[in-house]
């Protein structure tokens, strides 16, 4: 069997006396579609932050694509191919939509060894990415002119611009309507076709169930289930966490 793309081993993170992550193990193979769920405060976002380098994990290790990521700052991890989107969209407010996508192109794709993109290639790639997420008509706008869903799409386009191997989408659908969720799901499907591995963190069960091949459940900083989605949601422990005793 080949080495997994992402291997997290006994990852721990504490905030003072509060244990946010308690020795979490997680493996993701290339091409897999993994859903990560858990009640509020279960440590999902902390896990994302530890994986992407926004926070430092206190214990355990993160292996990604044959490298150990521990101690690397966030921008190095993005360059290695681990991109994330933020739960609350964080666009670069003073830049246009195109420029928002341009920054990861300049700082990840062009920072990797090998051929650098020229000015024309960058412009072309920006247009391509905006086309992919359906923002081609908004290229010259500022983020403040965008709607909630367009903001989410921009967030995904920016993560995609880094040409990642693994994309961690942190609640890319929170607050969206039924049809908008389908919109984002279609978009994620397109990304998978391009060969990207995705970890989807989501509250909306309908979306997670239709997206995931595998479902991981975090409760109070511990992983309590990991397996086929249909089996996982019938797991009594998961039911208890979500529905109470």
């Amino acid at each position: 069997m080949t080495e997994p793309l992402l291997a997290v081993r006994s990852l721990g993170k504490r905030f003072g006396g509060f244990v946010a992550l308690d020795s979490v193990d997680l493996e993701v193979r290339a091409g897999e579609r993994v859903g990560l769920i858990g009640p509020n405060g279960s440590g999902k976002s902390t896990l994302v932050n530890c994986l992407s380098g926004t926070l430092r994990n206190d214990s355990g290790t993160v292996h990604f694509d044959g490298r150990i990521l521990d101690g690397l700052p966030a921008h190095r991890r993005t360059r290695l191919g681990l991109a994330r989107s933020f739960q609350l969209p964080k666009p670069f407010a003073s830049l246009t939509v195109t420029e928002n996508v341009r920054i990861p192109l300049l700082y990840t794709v062009n920072a990797r060894p090998g051929a650098r993109l020229g000015e024309a290639a960058i412009a072309e790639r920006c247009a391509e990415l905006l086309q992919l997420v359906g923002l081609a008509g908004k290229s010259g706008r500022r983020p403040r002119d965008l709607t909630q869903i367009e903001m989410r799409k921009l967030e995904l386009a920016r993560a995609m611009a880094a040409a990642p191997k693994l994309l961690i989408a942190d609640e890319a659908m929170a607050g969206l309507s039924h049809s908008e969720i389908d919109d984002i799901l279609t978009l994620l499907g397109r990304l998978i076709e391009q060969g990207i591995t995705i970890i989807l963190i989501e509250h909306i069960m309908r979306a997670v169930m239709s997206f995931s091949e595998r479902l991981v459940v975090l409760v109070a900083g511990r992983k309590i289930a990991d397996g086929m989605p249909q089996e996982v949601i019938r797991n009594p422990e998961v039911e208890r966490a979500y529905l109470g005793e």
């Binding site: 700052p73 003073s94 920054i103 700082y107 990840t108 920016r158």
Partner: protein
């Protein structure tokens, strides 16, 4: 080219006062542009302009006493010294954001002032006299020589700011200004770029200060570290507009000229009042400065 044209044109003016006043305005062009590289592009407000500026000036005093090299050398040395201090300050304080960073820079200026005040070699609190030659080679009048140097420096500073703006560096700095976490996630090495920014900004401030001892001929800590440098270098970009290279230039020329005119015609004590009133007015009426005002007008007319 522009520098050369302005200097040729100004040679037609025979009144030396023009050069005295012009020097001050140009000095503010350099300071405002330097401040804006960190404050406008990167989003870190520096209240310590006077510290970097005076550091450049006092580097010149030390070198003048040691072997008196020509002023262009002093400018380079002043830039290097202030650039190094800018780098150090960046390294120590860039984990602070917003108000805390601003206070740290103010504290740095005060620490530097205290050090200089207690250093007898550069005159301490008594100040120091610099005797400058009456004539400069090739140009003649010494004040014209200083004016030309400052004009060149202003040209270099503005050209640097302009080239940063649409470079990879400029985009990286803008990303940091808008959202540091998102910038990191987009692959921007935020700490390194912020250090580039503080170093560059500090270096230009130091260069602006380096010829000061020759300009004033008497330098003491109270004038070198004067708060008006800090206030002006913040007010000028804010009034002109902070997002581009043109804003600080417009702000500095406008405010600098108004202050010079006011000094001559009304009173020299009125300067800071004018700056203050204009600053308040702009913050209320046009938060994006003159450039922002023009852009909004243009957009309204088009759409």
């Amino acid at each position: 080219m522009v520098v050369f044209a302005i200097f040729s044109a100004s040679r037609l003016v025979t009144n030396d006062y023009f050069f005295f006043a012009g020097y001050l305005v140009l000095q503010f062009v350099v300071l405002a542009t330097a401040w804006n590289i960190l404050g406008g592009y990167t989003g870190y407000v520096n209240f310590g302009t006077a510290g970097f500026f005076a550091l450049g000036a006092y580097s010149s005093v030390v070198l003048h006493k040691l072997f008196g090299p020509p002023i262009p050398v002093l400018i380079v040395v002043g830039g290097v010294v202030s650039g190094i201090v800018g780098f150090g300050m960046g390294y120590l304080t860039l984990r602070l954001r917003g108000v805390f960073f601003a206070i740290a820079t103010l504290a740095l200026a005060i620490v530097l002032e205290t050090l200089i005040t207690n250093w007898d070699y550069v005159g301490g609190s008594r100040g120091v006299y610099i005797i400058r030659p009456a004539q400069a080679p090739l140009i003649g009048s010494y004040i014209q020589y200083l004016f030309l140097l400052m004009l060149t420096l202003a040209g270099i500073a503005v050209a640097t700011a302009r080239s940063i703006e649409h470079s990879t560096l400029g985009y990286g700095l803008a990303a940091i200004r808008d959202d540091e976490q998102a910038a990191e996630a987009a692959g921007v090495p935020t700490l390194r770029l912020k250090l580039v920014s503080t170093t560059l900004s500090g270096a230009f401030m130091g260069m602006a200060g380096a010829p000061l001892p020759y300009y004033v001929t008497y330098l003491d800590p109270a004038s070198g570290f004067n708060l008006s440098y800090a206030v002006n270098s913040i007010a000028m970009p804010l009034i002109g507009g902070t997002t581009g290279w043109l804003g600080p230039l417009i702000g500095a020329v406008l405010l600098g000229t108004i202050q010079q005119v006011a000094t001559v015609t009304i009173s020299s004590a009125l300067n800071l009042l004018i700056v203050g009133v204009l600053l308040v007015a702009f913050v209320v009426i046009a938060p994006n400065g003159i450039i922002g005002l023009i852009e909004t007008r243009g957009r309204r007319r088009r759409g």
